[in-house]
């Protein structure tokens, strides 16, 4: 025993002078810059890798038609099975909006009938697309990342390569297509349920006159708003698919890595959704100002 412990000691001893050197001022500064350099490098590598992954996905999407039997199961898993959760969230967000805005709008006489415009505009422009995307990121994004990461650690990715199948083509392309093509439909569902929930609470519970409610809504919300919302959602869907699949593909470290990939996929997707939402909001505002100049 004593022999073993004596032999295991040297590494600990050699580590000490290293620490001593680091505690010097100049050493500390160098350590800081080295660390900063490392993280900048890691950041650039990650972005480069993600960009290359996106490029490969898009190329495989057009290079060859998707592998047989991969489209339907993924569309079912990603689209159909998200319907209940997205429908429910949409309904409640509409109802919550009605409850919250009603209190504010009743403070001024004659504002009541504007409630419909406020609720429906929020739902269709922002909350519908963002909520549908968030739910998709939570329900599908993390599951995708975990599934692909698990396939990676159990060598199923290698098995695909060995059987002459490109994992990006076989695994990523159908999932990407499902996310991009189905999220606008899920957003339509979220929008519809949100509008329904808002109207239900406003007209049935708070007693706002139904005709006025809908008339104002119709006046204030046009096809452009719906178009912007749905286009945004397609971009969100693409971001969710790429981020989640990329996390799964680059995971490492066994079971812990699978868990980390799943969590990261959701967190990064969520942040990306909000950033994209902001940028796309600016873009669409600029675009609409260009198409319909004021005055």
């Amino acid at each position: 025993m004593s022999e073993v412990s004596q032999i295991t000691k040297p590494p600990a001893v050699t580590a000490l002078p290293d620490q001593g050197r680091r505690s010097e001022l100049s050493g500390q500064a160098a350590g800081f810059w080295a660390e900063l350099g490392q993280s900048v490098k890691a950041f650039v590598v990650l972005w480069g890798d993600a960009a290359e992954f996106t490029w490969r996905t898009l190329r495989w999407m057009v290079a060859r038609r998707p592998c047989r039997g991969t489209i339907l199961p993924n569309f079912h898993q990603i689209g159909v099975r998200s319907v209940p959760v997205i429908g429910t969230t949409g309904l409640f967000i509409g109802m919550v909006l009605a409850v919250q805005t009603y209190a504010e709008f009743t403070r001024f006489p004659g504002m009541k009938s504007w409630l419909g415009a406020a609720i429906n505009a929020s739902v269709i422009r922002e909350l519908g697309p963002v909520l549908a995307a968030t739910m998709l990121a939570g329900r599908v994004g993390s599951a995708l990342a975990a599934e692909l990461a698990a396939m990676r650690i159990t060598e199923q990715m290698d098995a695909l390569w060995c059987l002459g199948v490109n994992p990006v083509h076989y695994l990523v392309v159908p999932r990407f297509l499902a996310c991009v093509m189905l999220i606008p439909l899920l957003t339509v569902l979220a929008d519809f349920m949100g509008v329904l929930g808002g109207a239900l609470i406003s007209t049935q519970f708070f007693g706002i006159e139904s005709f006025e409610y809908w008339r104002v809504s119709q006046e204030k919300i046009g096809l452009w708003d719906i178009f912007c919302g749905l286009t945004k959602s397609a971009v969100f869907g693409a971001a969710i698919a790429i981020i989640s699949c990329h996390r799964g593909f680059t995971s490492s470290g066994g079971a812990e890595g699978v868990g980390r990939a799943a969590t990261d996929a959701f967190v990064v997707s969520f942040v990306a959704i909000l950033i994209l939402d902001f940028l796309l909001g600016l873009f669409f505002n600029g675009l609409s100002a260009m198409i319909w100049p004021r005055g």
Partner: protein, 311 residues
């Protein structure tokens, strides 16, 4: 059936024998092309087979971060040879296999497959060349989302236009060869025992009639009976399809049963500078007689000074 009864184990090789002629891959240079018994000869195969090597590694080095896994590996594997690659855990055996099949690019050096430099090929071409390999993974790597039938049919569905009836017949035939019946078809990988999973993995790897079979720890984690079944199947596959076999293992029983040539790798971190990572290359008989203490330690399964190294 988690483990086959003795009767079933007897049956599998018998079935293999009876179909030996029928399933020989067309266009495959069969035994006829070689002097009788050449493929099965346990010794001097390297000189006897005058075909040029089907696989050749030239100064192959692989490094993960700061850690060197393979260092300057030089190795030529003649066609239809059965090579066992042995060595302790962590000496780079699995990485060696993955370099061979083009899954891990070597940091330095080249891998030649029939005179084609594997890692210099464009991706599409590399994927095509990989179909010449059959890879049996350590944990089988069956696709969990597919049934056994879908797993075994997968290569055919991806690379042929065969109709469903033909695919089904080919799948059943391949499963019968490795001693599995129709009752496993609908099962999912999670419902199978380790030995069955490995056999399904072998069947899947054989579907496209590869020229080179690679096995990653084929008997690891199996009971002795199932390990023997797998060893027998490796030997049968080698003899029957005239494949080149590379078996990565630390099971000496596997080595004695299936290998014509043994190559032993040693962990790079414990090698002196300039020392070859291949510390043994010879026949099984020579392995048993080897004088190198590192080889002897492995063959005899002794801890040696290991305990005092603090690892």
């Amino acid at each position: 059936m988690s483990t086959p009864t003795p009767a079933e184990r007897q049956e599998a090789p018998a079935r293999l024998e009876s179909r030996a002629e029928a399933v020989r891959a067309p266009g495959e240079p069969g035994l006829d092309a070689l002097p009788a018994g050449a493929a099965a000869a346990p010794s001097a195969q390297g000189n006897r087979l005058e075909t040029k090597p089907v696989l050749r590694l030239e100064n192959v080095s692989v490094q993960f971060g700061p850690q060197a896994v393979l260092r300057d590996i030089d190795l030529a594997i003649p066609r239809e040879q059965s090579v066992a690659v042995i060595g302790e855990s962590g000496c780079g055996k699995t990485v060696f296999l993955k370099v061979l099949v083009g899954l891990i690019p070597p940091g330095r050096g080249r891998v030649w497959l029939d005179g084609v430099e594997l890692h210099a090929l464009p991706e599409q071409e590399l994927v095509k060349q990989r179909l010449r390999f059959g890879f049996v993974f350590q944990a089988a790597a069956l696709f969990d989302s597919m049934s056994v039938y879908e797993n075994v049919a997968f290569p055919l569905r991806q690379h042929t236009d065969l109709d469903e009836a033909t695919i089904r017949q080919r799948v059943l035939q391949q499963l019968a060869e490795i001693g599995l019946g129709e009752e496993v078809l609908a099962k999912y990988p999670a419902e199978l025992s380790g030995g069955m999973r490995k056999r399904v993995g072998l069947a899947r790897a054989l579907m496209l009639r590869p020229e080179i079979m690679l096995y990653d720890e084929p008997t690891a984690g199996l009971d002795p009976v199932m390990a023997d079944v797998i060893n027998a199947l490796i030997k049968q596959t080698h003899e029957r399809y005239h494949v080149t076999s590379v078996v990565v293992t630390h099971d000496l029983k596997t080595v004695r049963l299936v290998a014509q040539r043994v190559v032993m790798l040693y962990p790079v971190r414990r090698l002196a500078a300039g020392e070859s990572q291949i510390i043994f290359d010879g026949t099984v008989e020579e392995l048993e007689q080897a004088q190198d203490p590192r080889v002897r330690q492995f063959v005899l399964g002794q801890a040696g000074e290991y305990l005092y190294r603090g690892e």
